[in-house]
């Protein structure tokens, strides 16, 4: 279960606060997955008590966007901590789907990869198994079939430690790269933070989704949770 509370001392009207929280949630807490299971109790609150003396922030306030941006960034950091602590997790994985026809399908593709047990176990095993990623993209339940054009698809691992070459292309224009640099792949996959970039090439929208690897420990923890 996810529970969270974000507090601020700004004065924010309830409707502006609700709008801000929804916007942030759709780009943070609703873009994480540890095991693909949705709880009966997931709840996130945001409280603004107005203890700071300044004009109340409403949707039309000149400061609304600035505060909302901070809340999005803040929510993403908090949400990522949950994924880092995923049961048995050893890696934080960012799935970045870009150049999508629309945001919704970018998220559907990112979520499909993030919830694939075979992708997650491959990441735990540090196995550069692009086939599983491709498979998860292929069965994603897209809202618009035009979002995926297999001849435009590009999939890469991107190093998160600024080492070079930064990008390891696995699939380009829908064609798997047959001569993948396996030693470079091993270096990238050995990092505690992994980034998978999927370029759909069908539009301009982008979604980031955060997941973790799946290890033996997950089973150990959840085999007898009730007791």
């Amino acid at each position: 279960t996810l529970l969270g509370v974000i507090c601020t001392d700004l004065p924010i009207s309830p409707s502006a606060l609700q709008s801000m929280l929804l916007h942030a949630t759709s780009r943070s807490f609703n873009c994480i997955s540890v095991d693909g299971d949705m709880s009966t109790n997931d709840t996130l609150y945001m409280m603004a008590n107005g203890a700071i003396e300044t004009d109340i922030i409403t949707e039309s306030s000149p400061y609304f966007n600035s505060v909302q941006e901070k809340v999005v960034d803040f929510s993403q950091k908090l949400a990522q901590l949950i994924v880092r602590d995923g049961e048995g997790a050893t890696k934080l994985v960012t799935v970045n789907v870009r150049n999508s026809l629309n945001f919704e399908d970018a998220k559907v593709v990112a979520e499909s990869i993030s919830n694939s047990m075979l992708v997650k176990t491959a990441l735990y095993g540090e196995d550069v198994n692009w086939g599983r990623i491709l498979c998860a993209i292929g069965y994603a339940k897209l809202g618009d079939v035009r979002s995926l054009d297999v001849t435009k698809l590009k999939v890469s691992f991107v190093a998160t430690d600024n080492s070079e070459p930064n990008e390891l292309v696995l699939i380009e224009n829908g064609v798997p790269q047959v001569n993948i640099n396996e030693s470079r792949a091993s270096e990238i996959l050995a990092l505690p933070d992994i980034k998978i970039v999927v370029d759909l090439g069908t539009g301009k929208e982008e979604c980031n989704f955060w997941t973790c690897d799946l290890s033996h420990e997950y089973v150990t923890i959840n085999g007898d949770y009730r007791s």
Partner: protein, 209 residues
């Protein structure tokens, strides 16, 4: 073997200090819900005196089986239209989910108990996490709430240690408490603070609305 050789996530991801919003106090206690005696009950309290109290927004699970605290809190938020919510009470160790009318009564009882202590009606929201399908040990929960408010010197604090303990009190299988905070400046030069706590390690794929 790699997963067993756990990284010390606590030292990596738990900050050693923080900044916290003005006029917010928090408390936590080991009420006995958790069998291991760990912290399991916490309260966030707005102490800023204003006509409308604090504003509050919420997003909730879209699972069709919504736990009692979700249903009760949604009702409070709707009635208050996000105005004048001044406390949040949270327990871990028992989710109070799929517990029927008894669970609904217990969630309302938790809210009412805090409302009574702060002397404001309809001013508290509730969250629960833990095992599904078990009833809350309400005597322990209510005693815990009473102790937090009535203990000599009060257990409510606004310092780092109080917030860290609050973050700990809502954890279940988490290996570290999640707490972050930052101070920002508005274009008019006014400084404000964001502080966040969260919990979660498994059954995580939220779609809240």
């Amino acid at each position: 073997k790699r997963a067993m050789n756990t990284v010390d996530k606590y030292s990596l991801y738990v900050p050693k200090s923080g900044v916290f919003p003005k006029c917010l106090k928090v408390a936590s206690i080991a009420s006995g819900i958790k069998k291991n005696g760990n912290l399991d009950l916490g309260i966030i309290l707005n102490t800023h005196e204003s006509l409308n109290g604090a504003s509050l927004a919420g997003v909730f699970t879209t699972n069709k089986f919504q736990a009692a605290p979700v249903v009760v809190s949604k009702n409070v938020l709707e009635q208050q239209q996000g105005h004048n919510i001044n406390a949040i009470v949270i327990n871990s160790g028992c989710a109070n989910a799929v517990t029927g009318e008894v669970g609904m009564h217990d969630a309302r009882d938790m809210v009412q108990s805090v409302n009574s202590h702060i002397g404001r009606a309809n001013s508290t929201l509730v969250m629960s996490t833990g095992v599904i399908g078990q009833l809350l040990p309400m005597e322990k929960v209510k005693n815990g709430i009473d102790k937090m408010f009535l203990r000599k010197g009060s257990t409510f604090g606004e310092d780092y240690s109080s917030w860290l303990n609050l973050a700990k009190s809502i954890t279940t299988t988490d290996t570290f408490p999640k707490i972050i905070s930052s101070r920002f400046t508005l274009p008019n030069g006014v400084q404000y603070t964001l502080t966040g706590i969260a919990k979660g390690a498994g059954m995580i794929s939220p779609n809240m609305a």
